[in-house]
């Protein structure tokens, strides 16, 4: 069931993942698919989209990047936050070995996905990238779920020096019939989408766009005629790259 109006939950636990990223565990549950997101409301502040890291209990991993996320980071255990959703189409879980590629807080929906895939017996390798070692988040969750975790830092302070995309390419070399699932900065997704196309690897990519309604009406989250809030946020490589006429709905090819 979708919560149509912002609904109050209390924060049960807060965990620092990095100097700028925190994970909030709430005192309630929703039913969601990995990749789906919720709109989080802080009264008098704003309402912003965040991926679910888990649905029971509801878990959110929030990077501090501006006014709203700063306000979120000021919340303490016992405080309330409001959310509506879950919204959007999540990842479609394929019965093949999985390569997950996360850039920064893009690890959030993938941690949820990893758990579900593992529960279904799928082998999961994760390429986790960030600027510095201290920015790598949720690695423990992936490990706890039974994934093999491969780190990359741009400054080389931990794991591979460079990008998660490099690691992903190597993981795909080792697993030519894997499926790729990714979430992170736009440039990373574009690069991975090209990679998938070149190699004929099925890829699914969770994208971000400015969201207002989250309901598929305001058009604010447009990506080449696709609605990130409703058709996505998870898209195929072709959709990420803006291929014409690749609408997810039957009306796509008139």
């Amino acid at each position: 069931m979708t919560l149509d109006l912002p609904t109050a939950f209390r924060i049960r636990d807060i965990r620092d993942e990095s100097p700028t990223v925190r994970t909030f565990t709430l005192d309630g549950a929703v039913q969601a698919e990995p990749g789906q997101f919720v709109m989080v409301w802080l009264p008098r502040v704003n309402e912003k989209p965040f991926s679910l890291v888990d649905d029971a209990p509801i878990t959110l991993t929030i990077a501090r990047v501006g006014p709203f996320t700063e306000a979120a980071h000021r919340l303490r255990v016992g405080d309330r936050l409001w959310l509506r959703g879950p919204y959007g189409r999540g990842f479609e879980r394929l019965a093949r070995p999985a390569v997950l590629v996360a850039g920064g807080y893009g690890a959030a929906p993938l941690a949820f996905l990893a758990r579900r895939l593992r529960a279904e017996g799928v082998e999961v390798a994760v390429a986790l990238g960030a600027k510095r070692a201290c920015d790598l988040v949720l690695a423990e969750r992936f490990r706890d779920a039974g994934c093999s975790v491969h780190l990359a830092t741009e400054d080389g302070s931990l794991g591979h020096r460079g990008l998660a995309t490099d690691v992903a390419a190597r993981l795909l070399d080792a697993n030519p019939d894997a499926a790729l699932y990714a979430c992170g900065p736009e440039a990373m997704l574009q690069r991975l989408a090209h990679l998938c196309r070149e190699r004929g690897v099925p890829g699914q990519f969770s994208m971000e766009r400015m969201m207002k309604c989250g309901l598929g009406v305001c058009g604010s989250c447009d990506h080449h005629g696709l609605l990130v809030c409703r058709d996505g946020p998870v898209f195929s490589a072709d959709q990420v790259l803006g291929a014409r006429g690749d609408f997810p709905s039957p009306c796509g090819r008139a």
Binding site: L5, A8, K212, L215, D222, F247, P250
Partner: protein, 311 residues
Amino acid sequence: MTAPDLSVPLCGVRLGNPLVLASGILGTSAELLERVARCGAGAVTSKSCGPTPRAGHPNPTVLAWGHGLINAVGLSNPGADEEVRILRDAKARLAPLGVPLIASIFAETVQGFGDVARKVAEAAPDFIEVNISCPNVEAEFGRPFAADARDAAAVTAAVRRAVSLPIIVKLSPNVPDIAAIARAVEGEGADAIAAINTLGPGMVIDTDSGKPILANRTGGVSGPAIRPIAVRCVYDVSRAVRVPVIGIGGVTCGRDAVEMIMAGATAVGIGSAVYYRGPEVFAAIREELRGFMETHGYSDISQMRGLAHDA
């Protein structure tokens, strides 16, 4: 019996079917406008554009409150210059599909309406829709122009002087006598009337925090909840004027569209239904409408138009 003809004429322009994407829903980009056209709309309206870029209100801006939507997007738009580029692109994409483009505009002053109209006319849309009825920017601009017959007439006259394209004036239901406003804008050269914009405004309060949920506190109400009001407005307006009416408000299925047409509408706007049934709603309602006409032996939309008038 021959298959029913769903096409309708609107100010000399032929729509393949009477269903029009309402302004502010998905009309933010050329690609989205194209998509809606491919989804089966008879015409598409771009999101209302003003003279200069506006960010709109902070979130929450749109909510589904149970019987409809409520929104205070706050006329976010990229400004007239950028809009011209979007509309040109849209027009190029729509032309091969044969789906007309309605460019919606707003402004803070009578003069501003003329200026924006002249600007967007450069993109050669098929119509200009004049949004004088947005209830979500009142605090900033004072009462909407649609609230007063003289203001509404003045805006219409200014746009009429600025462009030779067909002009649709979009009215507000939040007035004591919508027919009087309709007559006033018809008198100044409106070629068609769109009715209605959102109702209210309304307010939804979160009982846990005690706060109005919309950042703007209040917002315009749309969707199923407003249908009886919209139908009455369309009935009143279409009896008061000779120009065609685009009936908008709470239409989510074929029967609703028929009801609007029987109330006097020539075309039928679809907005919030996109939330309830997705962008595919256009083809779906179109086929429901076709089915209704087949069952009831109507061969042409015009046979149903205004049937309720001689009740």
